[in-house]
């Protein structure tokens, strides 16, 4: 079948999806949505529609993630008037009211409505594009997330999908490489190397067997961009891989995906099957002379496998340990053949660039950092979720406008970018443009896009120790600077949080960190000291307070704090006493309680249980 015919069919299915039935229910059902109960909500809709005999005229569909995880479960309803309204925080119990009011009577519920997606205005409800957290966003990678049913290839095609591959096939591979270079796209996995240049190396490398790999081993704790894209729009990534394969002259592609993402793997498997049916995979892709196939490899839980040479070892069935470069993978990679490896977000951008052209893509971002970047916004922030913004956007816009600031009126202290390889950007850089260069200037990195917001209640030494616990555990042990360096830094940080370190050790930590940066074999060890070095750079006073005064200013490090009950605020409700796991709290009903310091293990359960903020930390 010609591509034009395929597109016509797809458009028909998309039309049906959007217009064929008078009423429609869309439910966000990626991992986040499911954890918030989207499957129960879906069941409730089906039951209610069944009860009212509305099943025949209502389409109920799962869609991917819109990125607004804080407001899950998100449901979009289309009533008989064709207006699409988005509701937030929908639970199964609320479904009958929604169906009755919106679908049957045609009266959208204004107090629960978050936005109007399409159609006439509603009083007091903003249009989706005008929401404060949406208006600064530009969605390229996430163009279809939450909009299409990810299990249907025709939805993707109807929204412009695979026309990028179709266009690529009308060009020579060299032209495709040039187009990618011209777009200015840089690798979104963290290092930011220009994608077109990387493709060029693998293209020029001699050899008749070459490979392309999609790195979907999103291992940074605090990052979930790749998962959302794979779950919400798997074809965008697979089309990118197909284009990369054509450009460098590979006939086999791999997707290396973490086993912790079962839904993403399921969606990928489904999508690959659909590609085969449409003739986008296998012999003679889209009736051209290009042949290509894709295999999925499940990771087995090793952070270091996000590093390209380790990842290839893992695909080959070995321990995932890095090796020194050169030779670079473009020369000798998987099974000793020229290999090109790109991450999920890069490939989802590739398919968009080939569809719309390099010129279009250059219109976003800054001169050196073109395009858009997704970030996973989490931690102490009101609107947690996934966002996509043009490169160069001020940090303040992300934290305050999009993220809605820090909850509970607490003070913003820093944002951690780039996961265990990155650093902390303190509050004084709120107006920093977020792009590769500026983040590097302040000692952090873009990384894969995790952004964890830290408020005054978090201790920076504890945060650094947290990351070192992670990297020390994940260091593969092959090279000495990383193996010994992470151990040493972790030991010192633990001593500091326990109040048994001396200020001289600050200098030693800097020295060790510096050596690790210079001498480690792979990215893991080279970047592992970053969390320590940046917190030392901006929060040395916090370190010193632990060492000199034996105090943790944020009230986190247990060896240095005590819990007390404020007699003026305590109402004597007994909540803390029943929460205490070691029975250290005594007191009667309606009388002030007391904590026995000898018994207290400082677990913080009482503080969590108290509704009146009567448990204070000294």
């Amino acid at each position: 079948m010609s591509f034009k015919k395929i597109q016509e069919q797809a458009n028909l299915e998309w039309e049906q999806f959007t217009r064929s039935k008078p009423l429609r229910v869309l439910i966000g059902s990626a991992t986040c949505g499911r954890a918030a109960g989207s499957m129960e909500v879906m069941q409730a809709f089906e039951d209610e529609l069944n009860k009212r005999s509305l099943t025949a005229q209502t389409g109920v569909h799962e869609v991917g993630c819109l990125g607004m995880c804080y407001a899950e479960v998100l449901v979009e309803l289309t009533g008989a008037d064709g207006r699409r309204v988005l509701y937030e925080g929908v639970g199964p119990g609320f479904v009958p009211t929604l169906v009755e009011s919106h679908l049957v009577e045609g009266n959208p519920l204004l107090d629960k409505a978050m936005a109007v997606m399409e159609g006439e205005d509603l009083e007091g409800v903003a249009h989706f594009s005008q929401l404060p957290n949406i208006q600064h966003q530009v969605r390229v990678v996430m163009r279809n997330c939450g909009v299409i049913d990810p299990a249907r290839v025709n939805h993707y095609i109807a929204r412009g999908g695979y026309s990028g591959m179709h266009r690529a096939l009308s060009m020579t591979p060299d032209q495709v490489v040039s187009e990618m270079t011209a777009s200015g796209l840089r690798g979104r996995g963290g290092a930011g190397f220009p994608t077109g240049v990387k493709w060029g190396f693998a293209r020029k490398s001699p050899g008749d067997v070459k490979y392309v790999i999609c790195n979907a081993d999103e291992g940074d704790p605090g990052a979930f961009m790749d998962r959302s894209v794979l779950e919400g729009d798997p074809h965008a990534v697979l089309e990118g891989l197909l284009i990369a394969g054509y450009a460098i002259g590979a006939s086999q592609g791999y997707v290396y995906c973490r086993a912790e993402y079962p839904l993403a793997i399921e969606r990928l498997e489904e999508a690959i099957e659909q590609m085969r049916e449409k003739g986008f995979l296998g012999e003679r892709v889209m009736d051209s002379s290009f042949s290509f196939d894709i295999k999925i490899k499940k990771g087995a839980g090793a952070f270091v496998c996000g590093e390209e040479t380790s990842l290839m070892q893992s695909i080959e069935g070995k321990r995932g340990m890095p090796r020194s470069r050169p030779p670079f993978p473009a020369v000798s990679g998987l099974f000793g053949r020229p290999t090109n490896i790109n991450n999920v977000e890069t490939l989802a951008s590739v398919s968009a660039i080939m569809e719309k052209g390099a010129q279009w893509y250059q219109g976003f971002g800054t001169e050196k950092s073109r395009g858009t970047k997704t970030f996973a916004l989490a931690g102490k922030i009101n609107r947690t979720g996934l966002i996509e913004v043009p490169m160069g956007i001020p940090l303040r816009t992300i934290i305050e406008d999009i993220g809605g600031g820090v909850p509970g009126g607490k003070k913003f202290k820093a944002v951690q970018t780039g996961g265990p390889s990155g650093g902390c950007v303190p509050a004084q850089f709120m107006d920093l443009p977020v792009d590769y260069e500026h983040l590097a200037e302040v000692g952090s990195i873009m990384g894969s896009g995790g952004m964890i917001v830290i408020d005054e209640e978090s201790c920076m030494v504890d945060v650094a120790r947290y990351f070192l616990t992670f990297t020390e555990n994940e260091s593969c042990g092959k090279c000495v600077p990383c193996r010994m360096g992470t151990q040493h830094l972790l030991k010192t940080l633990t001593d500091i949080t326990e109040g048994c370190a001396t200020p001289e050790q600050i200098g030693t930590m800097r020295k060790v960190g510096d050596s690790m940066k210079k001498a480690s074999l792979c990215g893991l060890g080279q970047t592992a000291p970053n969390p320590v070095l940046t917190t030392l750079r901006y929060f040395e006073d916090e370190y010193r307070a632990h060492m000199e005064d034996r105090k943790c200013p944020a009230g986190v490090c247990r060896a240095l704090i005590t819990f007390h009950i404020d007699p003026d605020t305590c109402t004597g409700c007994m909540a803390c006493a029943s929460a205490c796991p070691v029975d250290a709290i005594s007191g009667e009903k309606k009388k002030t309680h007391h904590i026995d310091q000898d018994l207290c293990i400082r677990c913080g359960s009482c503080r969590q249980a108290c509704k009146f903020n009567a448990v204070v930390v000294n």
Binding site: T31, A259, G450, I454
Partner: protein, 154 residues
């Protein structure tokens, strides 16, 4: 739970994979999916099929956090210790659960009902802190709520 798969079970797994080295990890994953852990006998059978030394197979298996070498409990409780979960207090949850079950992460309770595990990140950071019981993800957890799901499961 057995220490060994039947010949038919092995045949079924092996028939999906060519006897080449790059099949090693997928085969180990399939074996673990079937018997829930990797017994020494199973590792030996895999080594034989791929014509690798047992030592080599064991070396690869122990490198990856996914593989277990002891049978797990009837339920697996995983506490996420990702960054977002950490700053929102998942350490306290892990500690509370650990105290409640009387095991440290990686161990199984004496009655074989729960295995407690710590996970680096589930990627559901927006719902932090996250706890996963078997395959169900629970978001915005507290020590209390976690105790409750344990009680409900028991």
């Amino acid at each position: 739970m057995t220490a060994m798969l039947t010949e038919q079970q092995f045949d079924r797994i092996f028939s999906n994979h060519s006897p080449t080295r790059d099949s090693l990890i997928p085969i180990l994953q399939d074996v673990q999916d079937t018997m829930e852990y990797l017994s020494p006998e199973a590792l030996e059978a895999v080594a034989r099929y791929l014509n690798l030394s047992e030592n080599d197979v064991y070396g690869v298996a122990t490198f990856y956090a996914q593989f277990r070498f002891h049978p797990p409990g009837r339920h697996r409780l995983k506490v996420c210790l990702g960054t977002a979960c950490h700053v929102r207090g998942s350490g306290l949850i892990l500690e509370g659960v650990s105290r409640r079950l009387g095991v440290v992460p990686g161990e199984t309770t004496e009655d074989g009902s729960f295995t407690l595990e710590r996970v680096a990140c589930f990627g559901s950071c927006a719902l932090a802190p996250v706890v996963v019981l078997d395959d169900k993800v629970y978001g915005r957890m507290t020590t209390r709520k976690t105790q409750k799901i344990i009680e409900d499961t028991e």
